[in-house]
């Protein structure tokens, strides 16, 4: 009977209910978008950390770090690191956490009359560590996200072409082309990284050193390390290691924080500056962070106004249906029953608005994700019931005041009206 009454009375005064539902829906949309962005961005960072390891970029002191992942800046490169120092990186306290490294040297060659960046690196090679152990290094150990169509280069004159460059030159795996000072090169594969490499030729380090006239030098080293998640201590250490107490410093130094490992690399390599690299953290992360704050504020405001909307709706309903409420009381209905009826209506509005809002919010977050990352975000499905629940609670909160009016209503005042 409860449901029967609820169903019938829910169909009464639909217009106002739709309005209140829309208010709740709007709030839920923002709430869901917020949840999706928060979780999605976190996921995205975790994913990057997993696939790259926590990469550490080692450059000569004084180099700016804020450029693209491989630092393809022709104005840079005056300062270099010694290729011979590279094995030192695998000789630090956390040597066992270093799982890969690759040197990079930037040069330029002329291809069909245009200047094209040529990046020298090791694709894969075994080196001997200071303690005599062998260690496999190369770009294949640090850049798991490089998608190569064709094969990785094996011979000295084989190279990878960045996808954009390959398209521009009309070359694919197996093709050969003249590359000015670098001579005739063969394309082993085409690589797509989403970064500056897409416009470059990726060749063996020795070739780039010859072209650039910098034998035995490198511009940067990318290091892949296994790390533990950052925490308050490591954040403080990163900002100001000098302010740590001795005990704190020891704890930090002897924990595989990415900042501790970077610090140890700086100690090991002459003239080196080592910094963790988070692709998301720098640019997009900041944008998303601001958007999250903005969304949080707007969401709060929206939920507050949704509660007021429901409150206004329910108050109007109680006034409009005073006679009906008085009748229910006169028939001996329990107060809880009458309240339940009206609260259930509010909850239904909340649930409907909340569910619709959760759907719209997920879509909105996809839109924002596409705008910022060029790619949608994973929808955290657990947020759907949570957002809906929040919407229901807000609607119920809005219905709390009208419930008091119901309790106060005296049946004699509405039933014997002379009309």
């Amino acid at each position: 009977m409860f449901w029967r009454v609820l169903r019938q009375s829910f169909l009464e005064g639909r217009r106002r209910k739709v309005l209140a539902g829309v208010a709740v829906c709007l709030a839920a949309t923002l709430g869901m978008a917020l949840a999706t962005l928060s979780v999605g961005v976190g996921d995205r960072m975790a994913q990057e950390l997993r696939s790259y390891g926590a990469n550490i970029r080692v450059v000569p002191k004084g180099e700016s770090l804020s450029l693209g992942s491989l630092g393809l800046n022709p104005l840079k490169g005056r300062e270099t690191l010694a290729e011979d120092d590279l094995p030192q990186i695998k000789d630090i306290f956390w040597r066992n956490n270093i799982i890969g490294l690759a040197p990079f040297l930037n040069a330029e060659v002329e291809v069909s009359g245009a200047r094209v960046p040529l990046v020298g690196t090791w694709f894969r090679r075994d080196i001997e560590l200071p303690d005599g152990d062998p260690f496999t290094v190369g770009v294949r150990t640090v850049a798991a996200h490089w998608a190569v169509a064709g094969a990785w280069p094996e011979a000295d004159d084989e190279v990878l072409l960045g996808a954009a460059l390959a398209r521009r030159l009309g070359l694919g795996p197996g093709a050969a082309f003249d590359a000015g000072a670098a001579g005739r090169l063969r394309v082993a594969g085409v690589v797509e990284t989403g970064g500056d490499e897409d416009a470059a030729i990726i060749a063996d380090l020795a070739l780039a050193q010859a072209v650039a006239g910098l034998p035995g030098r490198v511009h940067a080293v990318e290091v892949s390390a296994l790390t533990v998640p950052e925490n308050a201590l490591s954040t403080r250490a990163r900002h100001d290691a000098d302010k740590l107490t001795t005990a704190e410093y020891d704890t930090w130094y002897c924990t595989a924080y990415v900042s501790a490992i970077a610090h140890q690399i700086e100690e090991a390599v002459v003239n080196a500056s080592a910094r963790p690299v988070w692709k998301v953290a720098a640019g997009e992360g900041a944008v998303i962070g601001k958007m999250q704050v903005l969304l949080a504020v707007v969401t709060l405001a929206a939920f507050a106004s949704a509660a007021m909307g429901v409150s206004a709706l329910m108050t109007a309903t109680v006034v409009e249906r005073a006679r009906e409420i008085g009748l229910m009381k006169a028939l001996g209905a329990r107060l809880a029953e009458i309240n339940g009826q009206f609260l259930a209506e509010a909850a239904l509005i909340g649930a409907a608005g909340g569910l619709a809002g959760a759907g719209l919010g997920a879509l909105l977050a996809q839109g924002i994700g596409r705008m910022v990352f060029g790619q949608g975000l994973a929808v955290p499905w657990i947020a759907v019931p949570l957002v809906t629940l929040a919407a229901v609670l807000v609607a119920l909160a809005g219905a709390a005041m009208p419930a008091r009016a119901i309790a106060r209503l005296a049946p004699v005042e509405v039933l014997h009206g002379k009309r």
Binding site: M1, G332, A333, V412
Partner: protein
């Protein structure tokens, strides 16, 4: 509780359903009722008459536990109603009293049948078959699925009467049940009350209609809030 009451009722068959002792109700300085005392035995059909403003509705509100007296005592089925909480009053209304209103007061978005079932639901459990039987009783079996707006005034009042009966109350209270009806419907409704009386139900009915005065076995006249005559 009910068992105890019915036991007592069988031992003392004369125990009244309603017993008023010096009942008074004032609204600020307006004394709507004063020093009203009478008893109504089980099975009686009592008409309450009197000029407008004499306190008839006020009295009925007190009898139906929708209002509280400012003086005197009201015993329903021998139980004093003073000091009852609102929840207890609601329980009395759903368990012992059937109300009929001048304006019918049906829930507009529920069908005739559902209106009866709602009263059943408040009392115990909704029972569609029993509700349908009650509608048959007032000659509206064929209008069970209609909403109040689809029913005539007389039909609405018959639904209202069926609702007042549905939970087998010990007392039926009606405030001008024919006040909004034309003559034909008035007769139908009056016949219905007469029939209920014959079945032995206790009925207290406020009316301006002298015809009802004839039907009732006893008429209490109010004037200025006092009992003027009681025959």
């Amino acid at each position: 509780m009910t068992a105890a009451v019915s036991l007592r009722a069988s031992v003392e068959p004369a125990r009244p359903v309603i017993e008023l002792r010096g009942l008074g109700r004032s609204f600020g300085t307006v004394e709507a009722l004063r020093e009203v005392s009478f008893a109504i035995p089980s099975g009686a059909f009592v008409a309450i008459m009197g000029p407008s403003g004499s306190g008839k509705t006020t009295l009925l509100n007190l009898l139906s536990c929708l209002d509280r007296p400012t003086a005197g005592e009201y015993l329903l089925d021998g139980i004093p109603t003073a000091g009852m909480s609102e929840a207890e009053q609601a329980r009395i209304r759903r368990e012992r009293i059937g109300l009929v209103f001048q304006q019918f007061h049906l829930i507009p978005y529920l069908t005739a049948l559902e209106n009866l079932m709602l009263a059943q639901h408040y009392h115990s459990v909704a029972d569609a078959a029993a509700a349908r039987a009650a509608l048959e009783r007032v000659g509206l079996g064929h209008r069970a699925g209609h909403r109040p707006s689809q029913l005539s005034g007389g039909e609405q009042q018959r639904v209202c009467i069926a609702r007042a009966l549905i939970n087998e109350p010990s007392l039926i209270l009606a405030d001008e049940p024919t006040g909004n009806l034309d003559e034909a419907n008035e007769t139908v409704v009056m016949d219905l009350f007469r029939q209920l009386h014959r079945e032995g139900r206790t009925i207290v009915l406020v009316t301006h209609n002298p015809a009802f005065g004839e039907v009732a076995e006893r008429t209490i006249r109010l004037a200025h809030g006092r009992v003027e005559s009681d025959r």
